[in-house]
């Protein structure tokens, strides 16, 4: 709720529960707590209508008749901009909760749910969503910069990041040290870094980002 000055970037709570009265009550509670809420009475409706790019988190009822919370979570994780999920459940079912947490749920709350606990979980989900979005944004910037390098420059960058000297790189690529120096200057400029250390950091992040499965 803090630092969310731009209205279009304010995170929302996507609330899905097939009990209309609970949906209404939870919406009221969350609105009173200052959240923007979008309420859906069925998982299907939610999947069809919600804006998957909008920031925020989903609060899902586990025991829904048509498409239950866990199946909905799977569908959300599979999308290109995964959304953090907070589960609400009517019964304390350990296997289900373990499954939900393993699939990356932020929290798993038992009904009747305490408003403060729910708000804390939603805030944690927002934090998670924000950092995940920032991360994704940074990665896409890095990817764009990396994309602007010529094939030759990418080869040189790999060697530089691996900690090799200009002389060694020139020898490997069958050229002179001066040419490598020029490539190196271009790389630093295109990747917008001033030191080799910063370049190594970006390369590591990109490698980690590729390895890590998106949430």
């Amino acid at each position: 709720m803090t630092g969310l000055s731009q209205p279009e970037h304010r995170p929302r709570v996507f609330l899905v529960d097939d009990d209309e009265r609970i949906l209404k009550a939870l919406s009221r509670l969350l609105r009173a707590a200052g959240f923007d809420v979008e309420a859906y009475e069925s998982a299907r409706e939610f999947l069809d209508r919600h804006d998957s790019r909008a920031p925020g988190c989903a609060v899902l009822d586990v025991g829904m008749a048509e498409l239950d919370g866990l199946a909905l979570q799977e569908a959300l994780v599979a999308g290109d901009s995964p959304r953090p999920v907070v589960f609400l459940t009517g019964c304390d079912d350990i296997p289900t909760s373990v499954k939900a947490m393993k699939a990356g749920a932020i929290d798993y709350l038992t009904k009747p749910v305490d408003g403060d606990a729910l708000i804390r979980a939603i805030e944690a989900a927002f934090d998670f969503d924000r950092s995940a979005r920032e991360q994704r944004q940074t990665m896409s910037i890095y990817a764009a910069r990396f994309g602007s390098l010529t094939p030759r420059e990418r080869e040189v960058m790999e060697q530089v990041v691996a900690g090799r000297l200009n002389k060694q790189i020139a020898h490997d690529l069958g050229t002179v040290e001066k040419t490598i120096k020029v490539h190196r200057a271009h790389i630093m400029e295109k990747m917008q870094v001033r030191s080799v250390a910063a370049l190594v950091h970006i390369a590591e992040q990109m490698r980690a980002g590729k390895a890590r499965s998106p949430r």
Binding site: R28, A32, A33, P112
Partner: protein
């Protein structure tokens, strides 16, 4: 027979009187009511008649001979009455003799007819006995006047009784002690206050045959007046229904265990479904209430929204209440299944079910059951549920191992039986004490507050009541009181 001969020899005047009465009856065509009793008495009467008739013939012949051989008459034949034609004493004697002979002939004919009837009766009785035997039914007759019980041969074999046993007392000794009163009552009822002809009765009771196992007998009887007398007899049939009884008991046992299982599973499903049904309105109530709290902290307050939230709280609370009402109705409707139950048995069954849990929690169980049976009318499964709730409640109140659970039962008064479940736990908070049995009231972090509410519903469905007190020392005691079974109120 010998008894009657003796009577004839020594009490000749009685025989004479009897003979005269018989003669008078015969001459006036009087017929006594025919019946088994008279048939049995016919032979001695007949002997009396023969004896009396013989005596009369003897006397007549004596008179005749006296008149014929009178010395005077022989020596001086009377002049006035010449020839046999006018010998009056002789004529009278002859007429009497002819009447006597006719009388004897009539009696002989009648006797013959009676013998034929007796034979037919015996044959019919034999046929009856064969039919009764093939039907597995023994015949009996109890003459209340002489106190002798007659039992058909098959009946004796059925009961395993020798022919020496003929008195009611001897029979009664073989009836199961618990059933004696019932048999007495049935007979007394059939006989009535005075005597009412044709009263029938049918009872089933246990019979301890000498040297054999206990057998179930079905006795049908009928009271009947003997002749015109004040005495009456009971007669009827007896059949062995042990096998049928055992089979029925086995079927009943299987049915009961099946019912038990299905009801246990229903109760399990019920509480699961109930929990879900209750959690929905509770979630809505909680969220609306907390939303309202937050709205109050805002400036300006949106009164319309606040009013809506509170309105929703009220209607969701009604929704939760309806769930509870529904549960109570379900329990009441279910309680149609009533049977006579020993409360001590219910306690034992509930302890058996919770034994593993009690051991795991390290709780000592002290039982103080009443010395006698505590019979009540109720539903075994529901009462077990009540006991289980109280036991679980007590063991949860004793957080640490080493607590003591005391279960006592006793006769709480003339019309009540009483159950007490005590624990050495934390006791009940004073503010909770008054609304302990209200639904959704609990002091457990994860409790729904339904156990005691359900217990109260069960107690009330059984016409009983439940209450709780804190012990003077540690812990609390839950008391339950039920009305005692009607039949036990003595």
């Amino acid at each position: 027979m010998s008894r009657h001969e003796l009577r004839l020899t020594w009490k000749w005047h009685e025989a004479l009187a009897s003979g005269l009465r018989q003669l008078a009856n015969f001459l006036t065509f009087h017929r006594e009511r025919p019946g088994a009793a008279e048939t049995r008495d016919a032979s001695p009467e007949f002997a009396t008649i023969v004896f009396l008739t013989g005596l009369l013939i003897f006397v007549t012949l004596g008179v005749m001979s006296l008149s014929m051989f009178e010395p005077e008459t022989v020596l001086n034949p009377p002049q006035r009455h010449p020839g046999w034609a006018f010998d009056w004493p002789f004529i009278i004697a002859t007429v009497v003799l002819i009447v006597e002979i006719a009388l004897i002939a009539t009696i002989l004919i009648e006797n013959r007819a009676r013998r034929g009837a007796e034979l037919a009766l015996r044959e019919s009785e034999e046929r009856m006995a064969v039919a009764a035997e093939s039907a597995g039914v023994g015949l009996w007759r109890w003459n209340r006047a002489d106190g002798v019980i007659w039992l058909s041969d098959f009946g004796r074999r059925l009961l395993g009784l020798s022919s020496e046993i003929t008195t009611p007392e001897a029979f009664r000794n073989h009836i199961h002690p618990d059933d004696r009163q019932m048999v007495n009552d049935a007979i007394a009822h059939a006989v009535g206050d005075g005597f009412d002809d044709g009263n029938t009765y049918e009872i089933a009771y246990r019979f301890l045959a000498p040297g054999g196992p206990t057998r179930w007998l079905r006795m049908r009887g009928r009271a009947r007046q003997i002749g015109n007398s004040d005495t009456y007899e009971l007669a009827g049939t007896v059949a062995d229904i042990t096998e049928a009884k055992e089979m029925r008991a086995e079927i009943e046992r299987q049915r009961a265990s099946l019912l038990h299982l299905s009801r246990i599973s229903v109760l399990g499903e019920l509480s699961g479904a109930l929990a879900h049904e209750l959690k929905q309105p509770l979630t809505a109530i909680m969220s609306n209430a907390q939303a309202a709290q937050r709205m109050l902290d805002r400036d300006p307050i949106d009164f319309q929204e606040l009013r809506d939230a509170i309105g929703d709280i009220v209607s969701d609370d009604a929704r939760a209440g309806a769930v509870i009402t529904h549960l109570r109705a379900l329990l009441k409707r279910d309680s149609v299944h009533r049977e006579a139950i020993d409360l001590n048995g219910v306690v034992l069954a509930a302890l058996e079910l919770s034994q593993a849990d009690l051991i795991r929690r390290g709780i000592n169980v002290v039982q103080r059951p009443a010395a006698r049976r505590l019979m009540m009318s109720g539903d075994q499964v529901q009462l077990q549920q009540l006991l289980l709730n109280l036991i679980l409640n007590a063991s949860e109140a004793m957080g640490e191992p080493g607590g003591t659970l005391l279960i006592a039962t006793d006769r709480g008064g003339e019309h009540e039986i009483h159950l007490a479940v005590s624990d050495t736990g934390t006791g009940i908070a004073p503010d909770l004490l008054t609304r302990l049995f209200d639904p959704l009231v609990t002091d457990k972090p994860h409790g729904l507050g339904l156990g005691l509410s359900i217990s109260q519903a069960i107690a009330e469905a059984h016409g009983g009541r439940i209450w709780a007190v804190n012990n003077p020392g540690r812990g609390a005691t839950f008391h339950v009181q039920f009305p005692v079974l009607q039949e036990e109120r003595r």
